[in-house]
Amino acid sequence: MTPAIVFTFLSFALLRMPLAFALGLASLVGLYVGGMDFSILPQRMMHSVNSFPLMAIPLFMLAGELMVAGGVLQRLVDFANSLIGRIHGGLAHVAIVAGMVLAAVSGAAVASASALGSSLVPSMRQQYGTGYSSAVVASAANLGAIIPPSNAMIVYALMAGSSVSVGGLFMAGVVPGIILAVGFMGLASFIAMRRRYPLGTESRIGLKHVLVQTWRALPILLMPIVVVGGIVGGAFTPTEGAAIAVVYALLIGFFVTRKLRISDLPKAMFNAAVTAAMVGALIAFASTMTFAFTLDLIPMQLSQWVQNFTQDPLVFLLLVMVLLIGVGMFIESNAAYIMLVPLLAPIALAYGIDPLLFGFLFVMNLVVGMMTPPVGVLLFVMCGISKISLNELMKSAWPFIVFQYVVLFACIAFPGIVTWLPRALGY
């Protein structure tokens, strides 16, 4: 099935068929060639979308839409401008800082991207252009799966079995997450200076002005504390947190900014559904392809190939990283965890590689993979929100992607970055 699927998918994708449909057609052709029952397609489509954690996506998108409709954004922009409007790439820093805060409360990069994207891109694009704004937001959102809590890490730990503890893996992400965030800000400043992006509308920073804007923005600044705090503090799960965010956004819109009207709600709900549906369509149609690959034992053959290649742990680790960069390009990350972790984690253990280090590198690699074309959930989300083409987004996104891979390989060179904190805490 695999060659037929890969060939069909690539042919149609290169002829500019929407990727979801190219995946669907390739799946059907693959099922036909493999003599499989076609009912697999609707089964996989339905079951891959039918997941409670995934529901956070439309909910966070809805919260974002409501914040836009409720005039919340202007207050946030005013606040950010009053504070760091004089720094090069000011609003980009706001996005990254917000992304870090969101990351500390949400486990999913995709949900962060939809929340950040729908609330920040509309104002950022006026200053920096759509492509750059989307690239910054996608990178900031990537922190969501690296800074704890992280759904990806939970999935990894479950797939890897008892050798890796979820808590240990969480702690492994803290230091690299901070390094990434600081690095993103540096990169944003550098790009902003080179491209001479405007400094913002504030002529100078005045204390009184900052205080006024902070007060006006306070209900909005409290939102992540309520939502994130609620999730971290144990009041609710991330999906429920997303629903709370919707309720919170409604309350702010109706009673604080008083710009939200009942007649705004249908449009917000419809837009959130359509944007989420784009991600949903990809997940749904890609799931059959993954299924066919699994039946063809492609993951197993890959891992055998790697194992035949070398006996040196470092070479093995580097090979796995290169393999995952490739996998991350083409396969949806959850599917990749499900297929590859059970195969590769035991091999890594046999090579004597620290399971926490291997687990973290694995997760981070696939998290970056969510930003690499042609199949990258974060790219799809950002394209959906910003209504730009993949090409245009990639023109601005590549420095951020390269930077993340640099950090990834730095973690291999200096494993202490990853393992120091969890070991210090006794994991």
Binding site: L14, R16, P18, L19, A20, S39, P42, F270, A273, L390
Partner: protein, 184 residues
């Protein structure tokens, strides 16, 4: 005839095409309201679950399953609207080198292939719905096939929109114009 009928005169020349588009408008409108219901119920159920847990210290047995059901419906109902407004992702690296007319033709051809795929999917999903009809959901006395009906509806509705694209017909916006204005 609805008000949409008159607006359609600008969009389709022949009566047959106009009837097709008019039917599509009615379908879009129905699906639009269904999406609102699904999104609303989903949000309501998830927040109600938090509320009942804290305030009433109990849990709605079917909330998890029912919210997922509305979620699945919202997603699959919204996919055809996504097709309509053209927010689907593709790789245009190769195609962008072609002439404008050729790109247009290619897009129509791809829409036709897409429509064929959706028609195929519709047929397969019909089988899935039929075979699943007898089975009930774990906490609700509803047939478990309702999940697959969402896929079925998505496939049929998407097929019609892709056919419209292949024929270069521009459907009208999903939302009623007198209320929320044009969507996106």
């Amino acid at each position: 005839m609805t008000s949409a009928w008159h607006q359609l005169e600008a969009h389709a020349s022949s009566p047959v095409k106009r009837h097709f588009l008019h039917g599509l408008v009615l379908l879009d409108r129905t699906s639009y309201y269904a999406i609102l219901v699904a999104m609303g119920m989903m949000t309501l159920l998830v927040s109600a679950q938090v509320f009942t847990r804290y305030v009433l210290s109990s849990s709605i047995d079917s909330a998890d399953e029912l919210s997922r059901l509305f979620f699945v419906w919202a997603i699959f109902l919204a996919i055809p609207h996504g097709i309509k407004v053209g927010i689907h992702v593709g790789i245009d690296a190769l195609v962008s080198h072609l002439s404008e007319g050729l790109q247009q033709r290619l897009a129509q051809l791809m829409a036709l292939f897409g429509a064929a795929m959706m028609a195929w999917l519709f047929w397969i999903s019909l089988g899935a719905v039929v075979s699943k009809w007898q089975e009930l959901m774990p906490t609700l006395p509803i047939t478990a096939a309702v999940f697959y009906i969402a896929v079925l509806v998505c496939a049929g509705h998407s097929c019609l929109h892709l056919m419209a694209q292949a024929m270069r017909l521009e459907p009208l916006p999903s939302a009623p114009t007198h209320r929320g204005g044009l969507p996106s």
